[in-house]
């Protein structure tokens, strides 16, 4: 018996033709360098602003978020509204620099992971008029959500009971900057770069105002600047890195899940946005060319790659709280790496996000109200109910 099948003549793929090095776009790279500098200044502004506004009372100021569920909800809702986990984690690093305890910041970082998944879910809604395509696109978007929800279900109780991530982050940060020092001397080269504009704002532009007002204005300015800077960096990097992203994706085709995780990580580092990476796979899966199982590891890499922004932001922090800022940025990284190792590493756990995403997509194709209910419940209603419930239970 012989089987013959016609195979289209192999042609040289476009990506090989397109892999001609593009000329460097110096203006855009200079703009990015300037924006990264502004990001560091903005983080420093938030830290300095909190020190001015709250002094030693910063901890009391954040007492409302000392409930870990409240911290989780703040992180989730803030990220879902801003649609950028990098922005929220950078702000959190700035807040830690200003005195926010690391223990309160950790659930916020976990929440940022959940909140950021709303973006690719919205992107998947664009396929709504194509039944089967929508089912695939929606499941590709929500597999990331379910993965992040499972991570929180596993690691938040461990954090509450044993302070697991806080301890691991402390060990990693002390190992990085030297256990005998709390002043992060190794990062002091950033200080002369970011301090002059911060001091100029504090003493000249906002000078003469009461300290609390100056501090508050610095915080607001820092948050607005981080938001704008990360949005602009994302736009510039998207246009600069699309060729590189294609190259990485081409090289990952047919290579298995570890390669998928690695390529998702690298692309997210290059574009500085996990939602860009996770949204890119939605049309790829929607068209049916990539299966849900193939794009799943890629979205996990996005979780790891996005940690680079908070680590970068942490380098801007100087002084006694610098090590805590680095600690929370490292906690973000450790949490996401552990999440991949544990949830993706254990076969039966790995299947849960896939099954949940498929079931939800099947139901949503039948009735679109499921999508509305899902987004409303996961990102807004359940978080608020959780706050109420945990307050009632006195957690």
């Amino acid at each position: 018996m012989s089987v013959t099948t016609h195979i289209p003549e192999n042609h040289v793929p476009d990506h090989h033709k397109a892999q001609v090095a593009q000329g460097p776009n110096w203006i855009k790279w200079l703009q990015i360098a300037g924006l990264v500098y502004l990001l560091l200044v903005a983080v420093s502004l938030i830290g300095g602003g909190f020190k001015l506004a709250a002094g030693d009372q910063a901890k009391e100021l954040f007492a409302f978020a000392s409930n870990p569920v409240a911290g989780l909800v703040v992180g989730t809702v803030a990220t879902a509204l801003i649609q950028s986990s990098s922005t929220v984690t950078s702000i959190i690093v700035g807040l830690v620099a200003g005195g926010l305890p690391v223990g309160i910041a950790i659930p916020m970082v976990m929440g940022a992971n959940i909140g950021t998944t709303i973006t690719n879910t919205i992107v998947s809604l664009g396929h709504v008029r194509q039944g089967e395509e929508f089912r695939r696109a929606f499941s590709a978007a929500t597999v990331h959500d379910f993965f992040n929800l499972i991570c929180v279900v596993i690691f938040l109780p461990l954090e509450i009971m044993f302070g697991l991530l806080e301890k691991m982050g402390a060990m990693a940060s002390q190992w990085l900057v030297g256990g005998d020092s709390m002043s992060m001397n190794g990062f002091d080269f950033i200080k002369p770069l970011v301090k002059p504009p911060v001091k100029f704002l504090e003493n000249t532009v906002l000078g003469g105002l009461p300290e609390a007002v100056t501090g508050t204005l610095m915080i607001v300015l820092g948050i607005v600047t981080i938001f704008m800077v990360i949005t602009l960096i994302g736009k510039l990097l998207k246009s600069l890195m699309v060729g590189k992203a294609k190259q990485i994706l081409h090289s990952a085709v047919g290579r298995g899940p570890v390669s998928g995780i690695a390529s998702g990580t690298v692309i997210t580092v290059l574009v500085q946005s996990s939602s860009t990476t996770t949204s890119l796979v939605v049309p790829l899966a929607g068209s049916g060319v990539f299966t849900l199982r193939q794009i799943y590891p890629f979205t996990l890499g996005a979780n790891i790659g996005t940690c680079i922004t908070a680590l970068l932001a942490a380098t801007a922090v100087t002084g006694a709280n610098a090590i805590f800022a680095l600690q929370v940025a490292l906690v973000h990284l450790i949490y996401n790496v552990l999440g991949v190792v544990v949830v993706y590493g254990i076969p039966w756990l790995r299947e849960i996000p896939l099954l949940a995403a498929q079931r939800l997509a099947d139901a949503t194709v039948q009735n679109k109200l499921y999508a509305v209910a899902y987004i409303g419940l996961v990102f807004f209603v359940v978080p608020l109910l959780l706050i109420g419930g945990s307050n009632l239970m006195g957690i």
Binding site: N10, V123, L249, L284
Partner: protein, 79 residues
Amino acid sequence: MNPKKRELESRITELEQALQELKTQLSQIESQEQHDAIDHLDEYLQSMDNKWENVRSFWPIVLAELRELFGNKNSSGKE
């Protein structure tokens, strides 16, 4: 050896080889499709910038399904 058995074994080997060949061909086609899809990444990036358009196109469908849901309930209530 029983000739019938030998013939069956030979046919199974042939079929297995043919199956393997088909799987390889399918895998090549799938890889090619994936490479072609990746070449359109720029378009996907652009469509991401219009994500609120997605919500706008999604909303009328949700409203229609809501109307259908409550419309059906109302009409069945009248009956």
